[in-house]
Amino acid sequence: MADDFAIDVKGMTKRFDKRTVVNNIDLQVRPGEIYGFLGPNGSGKTTFIRMLCGLLRADAGSGTCLGYDVIKESALIKTQVGYMTQRFSFYEDLSVTENLDFVARMYGMKDRAQAVQKSIEQLGLSRSEKQLAGELSGGWKQRMALAACLIHQPKLLLLDEPTAGVDPKARRDFWEQIQLLAAKGLTFLVTTHYMDEAERCHRLAYISYGDLLIHGTVAEVIAHAGLTTWSVHGPDLIQLAEKLRQKPGVEQAVIFGSKLHVSGADSAALEQAIAPFRAGPQQWEKVPSGLEEVFIHLMEKSTAQDSS
């Protein structure tokens, strides 16, 4: 049933000069969901999103986006999608208001002036509405871009790294805004490199060099990775980490403030590796793995596969 999902695509593939950049990806996103799209640089996130809104022609794949055929009906999809590009792509020589007004016209909005005014207020842009977009700071550019994507009241938002370069307070506001809109039934597909943002998503997909490796809720993704993590507390953590990294079975040994996190996929091998150190002055404790450990684990696994 097409209506059950905001996005429901199968086998999406994109090649640039024979190099497969998006490889046979299936994705289903429910209405009202905030779906996180993660993966290392150059893994094909932007390319995938561009295919969804008809900016790139897919080499293979089928499915629907908001009930429209994702290959044939991209003109219709565009009317109901807001796409926030990774790189700022509004007119730098137009003011904030002029840019928003332009966007409103492109979508043929009826009460244009009102819509522009409303979105300026909503995103706290009132102070800089007369400023040229090119003169805004990075974070304010992002806010303006989000305002512009929302102005035509789309049903689906494709946000490509919307919070890159945005300060923590603005980032929190931004996410509150997103969550509010999702509660009203808007669907979001968001790419991000921030773990705290990933944790705010209802569901996640992790894509690496074109392949979708894993998807599900945060808990599901963590469970699926099958990673074991130990948290170490105490003195001389730097030297300890250095020694642990040499051991087989230890994939990561990373210091977070006053704690050292040691993880590995093979829990038996990991336990064997840390056994000699457990008698030391530090306290050891088994903890649930975090998203960051899981993603770094996935990244290293796929680069190892790539190079083999």
Binding site: R87, S89, D93, L94, F102, Y107, G108
Partner: protein
């Protein structure tokens, strides 16, 4: 292709408005659009010397005797004159000149042979289309030698005395349209066309490539815009710019160079619309083909050269080899030059310039159609 039914006036207006704002903010380009015409007009206000041969001529031969024909052979032997048709009346002659079909009409009066032999010194009338004085100047100056030499072989024995010092007949040269043979008259209206060609093609040539290079294309394409809205929307503001340039040149031409305005200004402005649109359409077509702004510029220059060389702007059109004339006929500038010179210098009306309008219009339609089909709605 299903772009036509979805054409939205609102989006079209939005794009026009956006282009206007951007144009206003881009001071340098704006200054160039006004500065180029002024500078060029002053620089190019000079004549360029050339010596065209084989100019088309119609003949009115009313003389039944043999000498009229001999004279015509003499004309032909100068290699400046090529005979096209034989006409029957002065009206037909005027008509041919007015249409620009021929550069000269030569009339040999009735009883020319008889009068000549009698020693009455009959007069041959040479009417010249002097709107392009460079084209006609050399041909006309070759005529002076003709007076005494033309009939040397015909007038022998007792008639030889007729070849005397002042020649057996008279030539009356009658330059039409530009009686003072002022080259600026011809160059300046031409410059109007050249400047419009250069600036219009260049400005829109950058239109799409600039969006691509600045990254704004990604945004524009993610919105439900249609190719026709974008392309025509980007062209429209520059029609006004074209008219500003046109007016500027006209004012300077009239008040600085004293170029006469014999025909209707309104007609000139109406014809200029088609010409401006054709150049803008060509520019936007380049813009959809070029990968970047540099390529778009190179394509523009690829058109400037033939436009300037083959349109009849620098070299008289009739003096060019046939293949060059064929290329010239395709170019909008060629036709606009005839229109501008026709209206300003000859006082041509709509019926005379109509045949020059449709080739420009056709050119515009073709260029825009190619542009629309080439406009990529995706980023790959």
């Amino acid at each position: 292709m299903n772009w036509l039914p979805q054409f939205s006036l609102e989006r079209f207006k939005g794009i026009i408005l956006k282009e206007f704002i951007q144009m206003r903010r881009d001071r340098l380009t704006f200054a160039m659009m006004l500065g180029i015409p002024l500078l060029q007009l002053i620089l190019f206000g000079y004549a360029i010397n050339v010596n065209p041969r084989h100019l088309p001529v119609d003949v009115i031969l009313a003389d039944k005797g043999p000498l009229g024909r001999s004279i015509l052979y003499a004309f032909k032997n100068t290699s400046y004159f090529d005979f096209i048709r034989q006409l029957n009346s002065d009206e037909e002659g005027r008509e041919a000149l007015n249409q620009g079909d021929v550069t000269f009409v030569i009339s040999i009066p009735p009883n020319f042979s008889r009068d000549l032999v009698r020693g009455d010194k009959p007069v041959i009338l040479v009417e010249a289309d002097a709107t392009d004085p460079v084209a006609t100047g050399y041909a006309l100056s070759s005529l002076s030698g003709l007076l005494t030499s033309a009939l040397q072989n015909d007038l022998k024995g007792p008639l030889a005395y007729l070849n005397g010092a002042s020649g057996p007949f008279d030539l009356q040269v009658h330059p039409l349209y530009n009686p003072e043979i002022n080259t600026q008259y011809n160059i300046v209206p031409g410059l109007m066309g050249v400047i419009l060609t250069m600036t219009m093609i260049m400005i829109t040539g950058l239109a799409i490539t600039r969006e691509r290079e600045r990254g704004t294309m990604e945004n524009l394409l993610s919105m439900p815009t249609r190719p026709l809205e974008v392309l025509v929307g980007k062209i429209t503001p520059y029609i006004f710019v074209g008219y500003v340039q046109l007016s500027l040149i006209l004012i300077m031409a009239h008040f600085l160079f004293g170029v006469p305005i014999l025909g209707s200004i309104v007609l000139l402005y109406a014809a200029a619309f088609v010409f401006i649109v054709a150049n803008l359409a060509l520019g936007i077509m380049f813009s959809t083909i070029a990968e970047n702004q540099l390529q778009a510029m190179q394509m523009s220059f690829f058109v400037f050269l033939p436009s300037i060389l083959l349109s009849g702007y620098l070299f008289p059109f009739r003096g060019m080899p046939l293949w060059a004339q064929a290329v010239g006929e395709v170019l909008p500038l060629t036709h606009f030059l005839r229109i501008a010179r026709g209206i300003l210098l000859k006082g041509n009306g709509i019926s005379e310039i109509a045949p020059e309008i449709w080739p420009i219009a056709l050119f515009a339609v073709v260029a825009l159609t190619i542009g629309i089909t080439r406009y990529r709605q995706t980023l790959d």
